[in-house]
């Protein structure tokens, strides 16, 4: 064990190139993961925050919020379904908003709601909003009057909420009445009549989705997690990025395997001597694994720092979001890949014959 660490300390240059390669790979893994998280979190916050057992869409909307229309009659039917305890309307409008004192517009998602999502207070008075705190990056402050959409509908920001964005746009949580006013003034082609909402947030017990759909005959109900996955692009993004992330991990494994099997080959003679003086295969192999882990830890530390720098340097529109969970996942994945990669050398270490120390090998 000491021997492995001493070698690392005394001959760091021998491990430098492997460390550099693994640093790049860990940086890549963090950036890929950070982009995936940024795209996912920024698109789905408003739905993840819903305290809903099911979300009911109109059947023809194919699980799209923006295309769904739930009428007052449908809502009445849902409210009468056995097991349903609470029903609230929800609707979104995606628009640009003029921020006082700012030249650039802010992308906002005006969200009309009745049942408060987690982390969002009860609906504010008409014409006022709880704003997602990411809108601070666009220059929004509490008390500002945002002029929303082409019709410049005024909305006053009353306070901040966290992690509630919708499709990468900053959420403004308003009453259903204010949402209808914004929607009808700015999107006359998507007019919503009184009582109409995009979807219903349904709370209650039992198999609500089936019961609600059966009762109305014109809704398609999803659980919250299903609704998150039904958002445009969410599933495709996750699967594409995960393929790239896991392929990159396979490369890490190959690189570590290659490096340490070559290193082991180089030390065959030395290992023969060590075995001849009593060192066990387990001890020698533990040394190889220890070195692989040490290289991976160092590479992760440098790669993690570079990813943090990249996060600060990249422009705001790049949806990179580095979470603690992503750092932990990448660290664990790197260590596992390093251990597995170094295990490729195990066969070679096991096969070294101590007798080879006597003669030319040493």
């Amino acid at each position: 064990m000491n021997l492995a660490l001493t070698e690392l300390r005394r001959q760091p240059s021998r491990f430098a190139v492997a460390t550099v390669v693994l640093t790049f790979l860990s940086l890549l893994l963090l950036l890929l993961g950070g982009l995936l998280d940024g795209l996912y979190l920024g698109s789905t916050g408003a739905i993840r925050a819903q305290r809903a057992d099911v979300i009911a869409y109109s059947e023809s909307a194919r699980d799209s919020f923006l295309r769904s229309r739930v009428t007052a009659d449908m809502r009445e039917t849902v409210e009468g379904v056995d097991g349903v305890t609470e029903v609230g309307g929800l609707g979104f409008t995606l628009l640009g908003a003029t921020v006082p004192g700012e030249a650039d517009l802010a992308d906002v998602a005006v969200a009309g709601y009745e049942l408060a999502p987690s982390g969002v207070p009860d609906p504010p008075p008409a014409g006022r909003a709880w704003a997602d705190d990411t809108l601070q990056d666009a220059g929004v402050s509490i008390g500002d009057t945002l002029l929303v959409g082409p019709a410049a509908t005024p909305i006053v920001v009353d306070g901040w909420v966290e992690d509630t964005n919708y499709l990468q746009q900053g959420a403004l949580w308003v009453t259903l009445g204010t949402w209808r006013e914004v929607q009808n003034a700015n999107r006359p082609d998507a007019f919503v009549a009184d009582g109409v909402v995009q979807v219903l947030i349904v709370r209650g017990d039992g198999d609500l989705a089936a019961a609600v759909d059966e009762a109305t005959g014109s809704t398609s109900s999803l659980t919250r997690d299903q609704a998150v996955n039904a958002l445009p692009g969410v599933k495709a993004q996750s699967s594409t990025f995960n393929v790239i992330i896991y392929s990159t991990l396979a490369v890490v494994l190959a690189v570590v395997g290659l490096f340490f099997s070559l290193l082991t080959l180089e030390r065959t003679g030395l290992y023969g001597v060590l075995k001849a003086i009593g060192a066990s295969t387990r001890r020698l192999f533990a040394g190889v694994v220890l070195q692989a882990v040490a290289v991976a830890v160092l590479a992760f530390a440098i790669g993690g720092f570079l990813a943090w720098l990249a996060d600060r340097a990249l422009p705001g529109e790049v949806p990179l979001q580095l979470t603690v969970g992503r750092y932990v996942f990448t660290f664990v994945a790197l260590i596992v890949a390093a251990v597995l990669g170094s295990a490729i050398s195990l066969r070679r270490v096991t096969r070294i014959d101590p007798a080879s120390a006597i003669g030319s090998a040493a």
Binding site: F191, V243, S247, V251, V318
Partner: protein, 377 residues
Amino acid sequence: MFLALTEMRRAKVRFGLLAGAVGLLVLLILFQQALLTGLVNQFIGALKNQSADVLVYNAQARKNLEGSIILDQQATAIAAVDGVAVAAPLGEGTFTVVAGDEEQDAVLFGYVLGGPGEPTTLIEGRLPEGAREAVASSRNADDGFDIGDTVLIVANPGGTETVFTVVGLAEEINYSVAPTLFVDFAGYETARRAVNPDATLVLPSVIAVRVTDGADPAEVAAAITAGVDGTEALTRQQAVDGSPGVASVRQSFSLILLLFYLVVPLVTGLFFLIITFQKAGALTLLRAIGSPAGPLVRSLLIQVVIVVLSGAALATVLFWIATLFGGGSLGITVEPVPVVATTLAVLVLALLTSLAAVRRVLRIDPIAATTGGGVQV
């Protein structure tokens, strides 16, 4: 040559592992490059391949077609700007449709027949001549959007079902990665009212402008933005480049690709450096018995070329297999030019990084064979 190949034959696992790692990395580069091109084309193909020189958005829409509407007075003012030959409405919306007996999403573009905004990449059939005819994206012909197929817009309660017949197919006209139809603006209006019978008005998303002969679209666009309140006029290319997501997707992918391009040569360089260290004794002996440095360096470089080319060949085969299983939906195909260009770029970079190993071979002193020394660091 002989030495290089013999060594590789005798250490198949070692070189195979390296070629595998290089292959995997090249595969990731090819996959991401194709994904980027495919995604961008499928996101904004409809904007890229329509005939308007300039598209005028509502300034509040931030170049987002879905979020833009142009008011009547703005449309009138746009038509009056110098350099504008024709200004016509262009509407865009995503609808639930039934095509090929299956309910699916489709994007409708409504343009004034014969005016700016019509698709420019027709490969089969003809352009629409009536309010219920459509040109569809050729990529989705097999999904119920082939010539002669009918596409039903699913109406909401109170709305009237609307049916379009596909009369032509055009290449690369997808929008938001969905099947796309170009129809007459009147047909688009009907479809809008079918899904929202409460609609008080159906406004165009943007105004499609054809500029007068000899006028510069960029100058006309600037004149419209300056002259018509609340609008942002963009040339076709500006509209493509400025589409939401396209710039950030390009930036993110470029960064990741850059890192992959750095990793491949580093892995290759590292491998050959270590190999050279390991062969120090043998190389010194070869030098001592009279072998010049040239053949040894050539042998090393031949190995680099073989490893990179084998990796690239492996990557191309894997990439081709990947496109057979679902790549088509994202518009990913194996194109010879990117494959060859990527292989050459990786090869050049790998040869450059293996110069470290070459340097060590050149520094071998034959006399060290008698003193026990090897490669000098």
